[in-house]
């Protein structure tokens, strides 16, 4: 049960600016609603990344305003009304750009930090 969002020792809070690219990445697999996106990020990161559900919505709103995603009301698998977000062409391009940026950053960080020191 990973419902309690109190950070477990093995969980990381999201870095500034990472949420947007995670949302875009999640939407590559098709339309999804807010709760689904939150769950998907947590699941695909194998519960390492902690998504504050509340913080998700301003991010979605921002992406929608930038026309990177678009939204439409629809019905969820368990028959609830939900607002589904879809990636736009601009969003797809943005994702490609952002993910390569993050990969380069992660690789560079890894090189600088060097091999993981041996734990006791």
């Amino acid at each position: 049960m990973k419902t309690r969002q109190v950070a477990a020792p093995n969980q990381l809070a999201l870095l500034q600016g990472t949420l947007d690219v995670l949302i875009l990445r999640t939407l590559v697999f098709g339309p999804q609603h807010g709760q689904g996106i939150a769950r998907a990020i947590q699941a695909t990161s194998e519960d390492v990344l902690l998504v504050d559900h509340g913080a998700l919505y301003p991010a979605l709103q921002r992406l929608e305003a930038q026309k990177l995603i678009k939204a439409k009301w629809g019905t969820s698998t368990n028959n609830r009304r939900a607002r589904f977000y879809t990636l736009t062409r601009a969003g797809r391009n943005q994702l490609v750009e952002e993910s390569s940026r993050w990969r380069r950053l992660a690789a560079a960080m890894a090189r600088v930090l060097g091999p993981e020191p041996q734990q006791r």
Binding site: T3, R4, G54, P58, S76
Partner: protein, 865 residues
């Protein structure tokens, strides 16, 4: 098309949040949680629902509108509670806005507003330029020739304008080419315009302007088809123009009729024609104005004879006076003066608003401590200012409409009686440009008068204010003092300017012209049919009601003297000298004494003898220390050639000397030099007439009308104006300018006085305690009055000093730019008088608050401690 996507509603967002919570609850329930626990957990995972909703609200782009509407409601409620404050501020601003709007409306009517015709931007006027002279006038035959230039123009319009008598009334008449209405396309109120079918003038059709229709027929639609007498010929009114179009010029036309040859006297037709036809064109697509001018230059060189370096100019004719840098240089100082009054109004309102904002210290402190940001408080105070500015803008427009009507009425009732019936005013109406101007100025005014108080007030420290202390000392006093000193300075600049103009007006009005205008009436020929003066002079001389008649080549005060380069024989040519042909009656009639030598003899006049009478100034300049009598003068053109107009006068002998007189405009003073040559009424140079009746009542307008009718069909060819009226007319602009100056100066002074009064009352309120203690400690009433007066004198002193410096600087610059003999711009008395007036007024403003200060009751103050 909607540019912005439809706004997402708050409810829609709330639904989404709810759906999220439901989905999360569902998932947790499916993982085996109880529904209640699941709901709690979902909420916990979401965090602060209200906070997220708030962030949604703030991110939506219409929040400023919501806040603005809230501010507007708040401002409205607040202002309704203090009607006195609203009335003061709105009225103060309305005066400033109204004055500025009046000035703008006049400029709009004469400069900015395009003619109400089809495509006014495409209309151009053809003008000729030469080394000596130029202008928009052509002969009608030139127009006829230009009409064929379809390679350059899509339309060529010709018009002559002149006053034509209609049952004794002068009507400003446009004699227009038959394509005038088709090419311009002005709106017609009733009936029709003139068309190609009217080219021959058959049936004598006439189109009235709206102004004339109202004036002559009270706007009666049955005027259509009625007869209109023009010059003894009956014309039929076929149409009335809409009020928006009054003709292509400064002077609104009363009536338009087709031009036919009958309008030109036989002897003036063809090549003898006078250049009085103005030509407007519409260019062919792809032809630039410069190209057309280049193509027209050879044509103009052919038709403009006896001029050197003739070239054509095709200039835009969008409005009566399209804006040029020169025109702007004239308008800018006038607008500055009107603008300064508005600035003073703003300063007053600013001062009042500051006092109000400071009085609301506690309220603002509460708002700030409740979490309002400083920006939000400033915005709220600005909104209040905006409401006041909009109210003032509306009131200002109303005031301007009233002011314009009053100004036009004042103009007509103060102009010399002989001139008023000839004056036509362009319609001074408010159009979108005027509204836009008023709105812009109101908005700018808001920023200036509301921003400073708002910034100042928002600096309130909530803790102090809530504790009930307010800031120590006299809050905002620096700013208020600055405003008052600035007002005093502006008022002083305007008062000094007004005093300078007024004193010049008085001085010019009292000027000794060097001749006696009493009873002398000038008759000039309008247009260029100068030869009509000769038979008229004879007819007048033969009339028993006439005592004396003199003919001249240009009457004094009318500035029609011929300028020649004259020099004593044997010396090189000197500066231009005015030269006038006069009949021997001229000097006795104007009571100009012959100071040396003798007057012209009748035989000299008949034979156009080569003799001259010179003014004392010319005599002194040409032969210093010698007598002028018997000396000879060479008369040349400025470039040394012979004067075409004076073929018989290369050299003349001086027989007499007279004192200098004012031949042209009075502000230029007496002529620097003058040469008089003899002639009779038979001479071609006899183009103007001076006449004196046997008694004052002999020569009425009716008499002149009757005598004129013997010479010409149209008596309006002659312009009758007594020399006394001409003198009044010349002073009129100065007098009118000084009225405007006094008005502006008076308003500014009243505002600065009330501003100073406000500051002192405010200070008194804040220093009541201090004064009470001083009185209790034994200060005399005198000391307290001094205390109060010292503050006001310091403000008035600083303001006056600044005003004096600015006024001196401005007038010094103008003085360097304007070189007029009779005008003194740096007038010590105007400066001293203006400063004394302003200081006295400010002292008066300070007196009442100072007296009130002495009545502070020490006992009461101490008890309150």
């Amino acid at each position: 098309m909607n540019i912005l996507p439809p706004r997402r509603t708050h409810d829609d967002f709330a639904n989404e949040v709810q759906s999220h919570l439901d989905l999360e609850t569902d998932r947790l329930v499916s993982e085996g949680m109880s529904p209640d626990a699941a709901r709690t957990a979902a909420h916990r995972a979401f965090g602060n629902v209200a906070g997220v909703k708030e962030r949604f609200y703030e991110a939506s782009r219409f929040i400023w509108l919501d806040q603005f509407l809230q501010d507007l409601r708040y401002a409205w409620r607040g202002l309704r509670r203090s009607p006195g404050f609203v009335a003061t501020t709105v009225l103060t601003l309305a005066v400033g806005l109204g004055l500025l709007t009046v000035a703008f409306t006049i400029v709009n009517a004469y400069v900015l507003r395009p003619f109400a015709i089809r495509d006014p931007q495409g209309l151009h006027q053809i003008v000729w330029r030469a080394r000596e002279g130029g202008g928009p006038g052509f002969r009608w035959q030139d127009y006829d020739e230009l009409r064929a230039r379809t390679d350059l123009f899509t339309a060529v319009i010709g018009e002559q304008t002149r006053f034509v008598a209609s049952n004794g009334r002068p009507l400003m008449t446009g004699l227009v080419s038959s394509n005038y209405f088709d090419a311009l396309g002005p709106a017609i109120a009733i009936g029709r315009g003139l068309g190609a079918a009217d080219a021959d003038g058959a049936g004598n059709p006439a189109v009235l302007s709206h102004q004339a229709w109202i004036r002559l027929f009270n706007g009666d639609p049955s005027a259509l088809g009625r007869d209109l007498d023009l010059n003894g010929r009956a014309f039929t009114i076929v149409g009335v123009l809409a009020p928006t179009f009054v003709g292509l010029g400064d002077m609104p036309r009363d009536v338009f009729v087709p031009y036919t040859e009958a309008w030109t006297p036989r002897q003036r037709r063809g090549a003898n024609g006078i250049r009085e036809t103005e030509i407007s064109v519409r260019l062919q697509p792809g032809i630039a104005a410069g190209q057309a001018a280049a193509a027209l230059t050879p044509f103009l060189q052919r038709v403009i004879e006896r001029q050197e370096a003739v070239r054509a100019e095709v200039r835009p004719q969008t409005s009566p006076n399209p804006l040029t840098p020169e025109l702007l240089a004239v308008l800018a100082p006038v607008f500055t003066a009107f603008g300064l009054v508005l600035v003073t109004c703003c300063a007053n309102v600013s001062s009042v608003m500051l006092a109000r904002a400071l009085a609301r210290d506690r309220e603002l402190a509460v708002r700030l401590s409740m979490g309002a940001s400083r920006g939000r408080v400033i915005r709220q105070l600005l909104t209040e200012g905006l409401v006041i500015a909009l109210l003032a803008g509306a009131a200002g427009l109303a005031l301007a409409a009233w002011g314009l009507r009053a100004a036009v009425f004042a103009l007509f009732s103060t102009l010399p009686a002989a001139v008023a019936p000839l004056l036509r005013i362009a319609p001074l109406t408010f159009d979108s440009r005027v509204f836009l101007f008023a709105l812009t100025v109101s908005a700018v005014a808001t920023l200036t008068f509301a921003l400073f108080p708002a910034l100042q007030a928002s600096q309130t420290s909530p803790i102090d204010a809530l504790r009930g202390q307010g800031r120590g000392g006299c809050p905002g006093s620096r700013l208020r003092n600055l405003l008052v000193a600035g007002q005093v300075a502006v008022a002083l600049v305007l008062v000094i300017t007004a005093a300078t103009i007024a004193r010049n007006g008085t001085a010019v009005g009292a000027m000794d012209l060097g001749f006696d205008t009493t009873g002398v009436i000038s008759v000039n020929v309008r247009g260029d049919q100068d030869e009509l003066a000769r038979p008229l002079a004879d007819a007048l001389a033969a009339d028993p009601r006439v005592a004396d008649v003199a003919v001249t080549s240009g009457n004094p005060l009318f500035n029609l003297g011929l300028m020649v380069a004259a020099a004593p024989s044997g010396a090189p040519p000197v500066t231009p000298t005015a030269t006038t042909f006069v009949s021997p009656e001229y000097f006795p009639m104007l009571r100009i004494p012959i100071v040396e030598g003798r007057a012209f003899r009748a035989d000299e006049a008949r034979g156009a003898a080569r003799v001259a009478i010179v003014s004392a100034a010319t005599a002194k300049a040409f032969w210093p220390g010698e007598t002028a009598i018997g000396q000879s003068i060479r008369i040349l053109r400025s470039n040394g050639g012979r004067v075409d107009e004076l073929p018989e006068y290369p050299e003349v002998t001086v027989v007499g000397v007279v004192p200098a007189i004012v031949g042209g405009v009075m502000i230029s003073g007496r002529d620097t030099g003058h040469i008089y040559l003899p002639m009779t009424s038979a001479d071609p140079h006899a183009t103007a007439i001076l006449v004196r009746g046997r008694t004052d009542r002999d020569l009425t307008a009716q008499t002149f009308h009757e005598i004129f009718r013997r010479i010409v069909q149209d008596p309006q060819v002659f312009e009758v104006l007594s020399l006394a009226e001409m003198r009044a007319l010349q002073i009129y602009p100065l007098v009118a300018a000084s009225w405007v100056g006094w008005l502006l100066g008076g308003v500014a002074l009243a505002l600065s006085v009330s501003g100073l009064y406000g500051v002192l009352v405010f200070t008194l309120g804040h220093r009541r305690r201090e004064i009470g203690i001083r009185l209790a400690l034994g200060a005399t009433a005198r000391a307290v009055v001094q205390l109060m007066l010292r503050q006001s004198l310091r403000l008035a002193g600083f303001g006056s000093l600044a005003g004096l410096v600015v006024a001196f600087g401005v007038l010094k610059i103008l003085d360097a730019a304007i070189r007029l003999e009779a005008i003194t711009l740096l007038d010590a008395r105007a400066f001293a008088g203006g400063a004394a007036l302003v200081v006295a007024a400010t002292a008066l403003a300070a007196w009442q608050p100072a007296r009130r200060a002495t009545r502070v009751d020490p006992a009461q103050t101490l008890r309150a401690e």
